[in-house]
């Protein structure tokens, strides 16, 4: 039991990491990785939703009739996303403003609905929580790493929390503005996917 628990948890961290292996959840990956801070904030919010929606859906998996399961999943996921939105508005207002419309968009993040349908509806609650946690942390790490690349190259800083950078390039650094814009996100994501494939093939 412990072994399969560890297995379900760690697969989300590397072997089945959502944006790079499952190729799910690319929209927020492109949109909120302008800085590490935004990426981490979005990742934590998504992890919260993933863990709780996986848990609830797994607990209710024998009660929800198959024909309305997607509708039920969406209600459950939307409830938790709204809770996250309210909590962020109350406790982390600046991050809430920065992430803007992408917080409600967690509802239609393919990772959340995908794990609900593929895993939580067919497995017990403890395994589902492990799966959700692993996927969520993997997603957060992906966002943070792409965010680090984009922010470092495009802005010369790395900010983890609170707006002040923990690292800044010297005054002679000319920012590579391209990386902060949308095309830079695509290119950055593509290159990271490429590297993941090369490393994975070994």
């Amino acid at each position: 039991m412990a072994q399969s628990l560890a297995k379900e948890f760690t697969k989300g961290l590397w072997a089945e990491i959502p944006p790079f292996r499952l190729v799910l959840g690319l929209c927020p990956t492109l949109a909120v990785t302008k800085s590490v801070e935004n990426g981490i904030g979005m990742g934590v919010a998504t992890t919260f939703v993933l863990v709780f929606s996986n848990l609830l859906i797994s607990l209710l998996r024998n009660v929800i009739p198959s024909k309305v399961r997607i509708a039920c999943y969406v209600v459950i996921i939307a409830t938790f996303v709204t809770i996250v939105e309210l909590l962020m508005q109350a406790y982390t207002y600046e991050l809430f403003l920065k992430l803007g419309i992408f917080i409600p968009l967690i509802v239609v993040n393919c990772i959340v609905l995908g794990r609900a349908e593929a895993f939580a509806s067919k497995n017990g609650p403890v395994l589902s929580v492990a799966d959700g946690l692993g996927m969520g942390i993997g997603f957060t790490l992906s966002l943070a790493s792409l965010g680090a690349v984009r922010e470092l190259l495009g802005n010369g800083t790395i900010t983890i929390w609170g707006g002040t950078p923990i690292f800044e390039m010297g005054a002679n650094f000319l920012p590579f503005q391209f990386m902060i814009e949308a095309p830079g996100a695509f290119v950055g994501l593509g290159l990271m996917l490429c590297m993941m494939n090369i490393v994975g093939k070994k």
Partner: protein, 193 residues
């Protein structure tokens, strides 16, 4: 038939439970959210309008309900001793509502300053209304006899070049502020005592 009933029951119970949970969390976080909105959206505007306020306009805010209008008012006393208030109104800009905080001197009925609080305007174009003070500085010192519309609408306000819709939105917000002020001034003066 039985299948249909079970589908309806499950969905209904689920949504009812979800609605209840969300209502509870919303009322639980309501005060905190109001404080955050005040701190991040209104406070910077109020501080810019009343830089030498001797009191705390945010702490002394009060709400007026009269003539069918509900308004949150931030009072202050200016450096020359005259009383002033600030309140927020909204107009419609290019990408959504534009919030405008207006500071008015109660003794002279003249605008002290205005500041844009929130907006969803195009960065670099409509957003100039908030970031670049050139546009809003023309409101300073205007009286309540001004027509708050852009010049091409027969008003007195110069629109920002390339940002007509945003300029109109701010002007509409200002016009609304004028209307509200004229209606509620007696109430405001009463409450400030």
């Amino acid at each position: 038939m039985r299948e249909m009933i079970s589908m309806i029951v499950v969905l209904t119970v689920l949504t009812a439970f979800s609605g209840g949970l969300l209502a509870a969390i919303e009322s639980g976080t309501k005060d905190r959210i109001e404080n955050q909105v005040l701190k991040f959206q209104k406070a910077p505007a109020i501080q810019a309008i009343f830089p030498e306020a001797t009191n705390d306009p945010l702490a002394e805010r009060f709400t007026i309900k009269a003539e069918g209008i509900e308004l949150q008012v931030f009072p202050t006393i200016l450096s020359d001793g005259s009383k002033a208030v600030a309140f927020e109104t909204k107009g419609t800009g290019f990408g959504g509502p534009v919030g405008l905080m207006m500071g008015i001197n109660l003794d002279t009925d003249k605008i002290i300053e205005v500041r844009v609080t929130t907006h969803s305007e195009t960065p670099g174009i409509g957003s100039r209304a908030k970031d670049n003070l050139e546009f809003v500085s023309q409101f300073s010192g205007l009286g309540m006899d001004t027509t708050f519309a852009i010049k091409s609408d027969n008003g007195d306000i110069d629109a920002m070049s390339g940002a007509t819709v945003t300029s109109k939105g701010v002007s509409v917000a200002a016009a609304q502020a004028k209307e509200i002020y004229q209606k509620l001034k007696p109430e405001i003066v009463k409450q400030i005592k």
